[in-house]
Subunit: 338 residues, 4 copies
């Protein structure tokens, strides 16, 4: 950590800060420049409970952290890439996972027909929400356990691994009975009680980035799960909130190579939420693969116009079939297999 | 709701959309313009489960909602302003509430001395976190029930109402035993299970805006609580995530008059999180009052440099005393009483 | 245009608004809903000087535009895609243009060696700045006419078309003497005097999106050029300003398919400025192609560590060679030729 | 400047970087931590042409600047606050300037009646655009010289100083003949040719922040003007682009105290553009004053519904009169005089 003193900092401010740095268990190193004095604090600043507080010290201009705040998620801790293997789904090690299905499970017929269609087109796992976090209390909230049972039937029929969201710690046991992968939604990315709970589960986790979370915050959310003992974590970029209004969210694909340089965890991209408009989804699926993503998660529905949620961003079976054709060609160009 | 058709929409697309609108229980009204056809759908579009899906229809360019998605929070439903009265704290009806205290409760001595100091300077309620949602699993996570007990002692000593955060539905009963107001933090603004649970509590709620939440999403989060039966809800603007890097968040004070035009719920402003830097807090406290805020919530600590969290944005007792002087003058100019 | 009245709008407010709509030359159509009245204004709202003013009328809640504000740039005006052909550069019609070169022209040797290297690797045009708009007055401001002469020498040596920035109307004649394509930089996207002036030039224009411009604003900036008579316009997505701090800008590739649905103008992507970090550039080049971009513009320098500008985002010759290999494979998968 | 090396940086990378730092004229100071090596570069990093390039060096993780990039605008260079005095307008030294008037000058009658009305309500200068930069080429572009003449008439009639925008270097002489203050609009904040030109003018300048400009970029734009010899510069916060859609821009008032801590230049706030909606303007005027702003600039029109531009954010004469009453009370509370 680097403490930059103000130009008008007094000698006693500098001495005070030296003591503060020492009291955090770090070793201060004072550099007197032509205009300002800088104090470099050597040591593991993450162990220091709250280095940010130094900023409130007298004469301090700013505090610049040097070490990334996460450890277990870091490529510096584990250089070998994490590979997720669960049933039909493999993510990493040259295999691109494609998780497809409706936003919400609506009926057995809907989920089973979707599972069959996406499998025929090449998907490697099935998604579908049974517990739905919805912006409005007046929107469809999901079929809950009945929805989970329908997902299990679809898995039995097709062999596809099931990815579904869990929204509360008390539901984990129930959801894990039916699901192969527990999804943590964007709204719950910083629901730490939930993160701690899935950290104790043996089930792999797909952790979605919150729409205003920094990548450091995403990695720290993953850190909660890893720290709990669960090493099977996939990160999911699903778009951030910006001033762009022609897409529901802005999908910043540069996070894919950036994260791959920082973490060993696989990176999945969600072009459905990342754009919020069906016509933009196929191009962004291909772009995600070309950017090096380890997997895709996207919304497919037998009849998007009648979907109980997210119809505006769902592909029909025919659109998904067509999208997969384009994806396979780009995957070939990237030497990965779907 | 207004459905704007594409210029190249076919007659059958228009007819299809008319049927869709009808199937949602709305009355279609077709307007054929010089360039495009527009279908106005008359009726309560909020009752229609999922109007957004119309966007995926053939020939549709975009769907523009006309009605706000919230009802109970709307000034159109209840024009009389909601006033919160709990112990020493009154918010609304010409009274400005000032909720102050440390980010985290750290010890009995810390919280009691803070309560005394802020009361002497004019605060009307005490804040302090016992359950702390922290970005990093390695940060101080709060004293939990012990912290709540210390808050209760501080209340007993000073008579100040206690505002404290609750992070999970299963903790509500425990927290409500000690607290006068339940705070829902920004990270949990869309934790619907938690919102539903505090909606069933008799305790007033301070609901913080998530850093990427739109004001409609904030009002819909409040709607979950109101819909559960709890009418004692305060909204809190605590800053949004933008590209501005010299402040931790960007505090958009125009949301104060905007929200006051849309909802009957009182609006509290948090200049500590909204700026993230102590030197900016006093000016933003005054600005919030001048913008018409119904209350302030801010961080005060006996020794910010030693705080276990958020020291960089906490005021010392002396700074808080000084800040309150400026606030009182602006409050007088606004004809409100602290 | 749709005028949504407030729920408490009076009958006289509605009548006033009907008159206002008529005074703008539009035909009002009143729809009385269960909760609100909506007035649809039929006609060409773009001809109406300033429809936004209706928002200030009594009883008005909001005004929703229906027609896009641009005409000449619209795919509804000209459905055939615009193809740019100038010297070695073809953009559109199945050909992907790759414009590469240093941020600034620094010396004849630098620019000629770069032109040779990028041509050998497959670039189809040379970029290089002679007039440099720089954030700080203390930064290198470009070699001006000398730089243009060096670009002309590089073109002579390699046959590559030259793309270079023009920053003021009074320089256009001079720059156009040497350049094949005039670049309008992001900072000048709304410098209308400059847009009008390049609109009168016979030289093709590459128009960069400003970092906070909406796509409508970008298309309206293009409209200034098209309206001036110059039809040879390429749009360039170079990243927007968001809260993401690990990249200098956020590159929203979904604008590529979005814009292609709205305009006939070709879309070029700039992964160098769009990320601001060399290691992220190759992945984003591939992703841009997979998203369907018509061209790329990127920074290549013989020795980025010694570059007078933008070294942190420039590729070396070897990195560019490697990047092009990946790009060619993805271009093949997209059935386009570089 | 601090160069943070990657954990896996080799000894030769560190030595290479030491040489690079020396070649920039800075003195390297190597700090070997437990996990990483950090190289502090002592000296005036602003003099070093392009320190950013170090980021592309082998083994480098990131480069953290220590010194602010601006000099002349810095409070460290000139600690005494700059006061602007021109005709009726004084900004700074306990005086709050209030610049009001229409977006565009439309007729002599319009501008003269507005000048009289705002003067009667207490404004201290008149604004009005004669050269209008408009997003669409089809919008009203201003009366140009005729508009300037009308402004001069209004000044003669009322004695109010005139603030008006200049959009191109070639117009400065003409505009300065009529204007007391040259306004640089948000779209031209990084039009450096224009900044250099007003830097050579004897006329005071009001420099508006671009909607995606950082405060450092704003201060560097001011630096261009100061470096040209013109010391009479006011900065104007007029709102930034964020995801907030209920206001046209987001007005981040914390920039007022922040900038006052960094620069000696006075800070003016524009609540009209900063909110984009008339009903929000009065509250944000008061908030700006309470935040410590040195001046306000806002839009007033005799009949906003008929304004040729920006009617949706203009106050009527009566609304302005009312707004000023509130402003005066808050100004009194802040011990400043309007």
């Amino acid at each position: 950590m680097i403490v930059v003193m103000r130009r008008d900092a007094k000698e006693q401010d500098i001495e005070h800060m030296i003591e503060q740095v020492q009291s955090l268990g770090l070793k201060p190193h004072v550099l007197r420049g032509t205009e300002r004095t800088v104090i470099a604090a050597i040591g593991d600043e993450r162990a220091a409970a709250s280095v940010g507080v130094l900023e409130s010290g007298p004469g301090v201009d700013e505090v610049l952290p040097v070490l990334a705040p996460y450890k277990l998620a870091s490529v510096e801790t584990k250089s070998e890439k994490t590979v997720i293997r669960v049933g039909s789904l493999t993510i990493g090690n040259g295999r691109l996972g494609v998780i497809a299905g409706p936003c919400s499970v609506e009926s057995e017929e809907q989920i089973v027909s979707t599972a069959r269609a996406i499998k025929a087109s090449g998907a490697t796992a099935l998604r579908g929400g049974a517990f739905k976090p919805r912006t409005s209390p007046y929107s469809f909230q999901g079929l809950k356990e009945k929805g989970l049972q329908m997902l299990a039937i679809a898995r039995e029929e097709t062999g596809l691994a099931v990815v579904t969201e869990v929204v509360a710690a008390e539901d984990i046991e129930l959801v894990a009975e039916y699901a192969d992968v527990l999804q943590i939604g964007a709204r719950n990315m910083q629901n730490y009680r939930l993160l701690e709970a899935v950290g104790r589960s043996p089930c792999p986790v797909l952790l979605k980035r919150g729409p205003s979370a920094t990548v450091d915050e995403l990695l720290l959310a993953a850190e909660y799960i890893l720290d709990g003992g669960n090493q099977q974590v996939m990160l999911c970029e699903r778009g951030i909130r910006t001033f762009e209004a022609h897409t529901r969210f802005t999908l910043p694909l540069a996070t894919v190579p950036y994260l791959q340089g920082k973490t060993h965890l696989p990176i999945v991209v969600d072009p459905s939420h990342g754009t919020g408009h069906t016509p933009l989804v196929p191009a962004m699926c291909r772009a995600a693969i070309a950017a090096g993503a380890d997997g895709l998660i996207l919304e497919v529905h037998p009849n998007p116009e009648k979907a109980l949620s997210d119809g505006y961003q769902s592909l029909t079976f025919a659109q998904f079939e067509e999208t997969m054709k384009g994806c396979r060609r780009v995957a070939d160009a990237m030497d990965v297999k779907i």
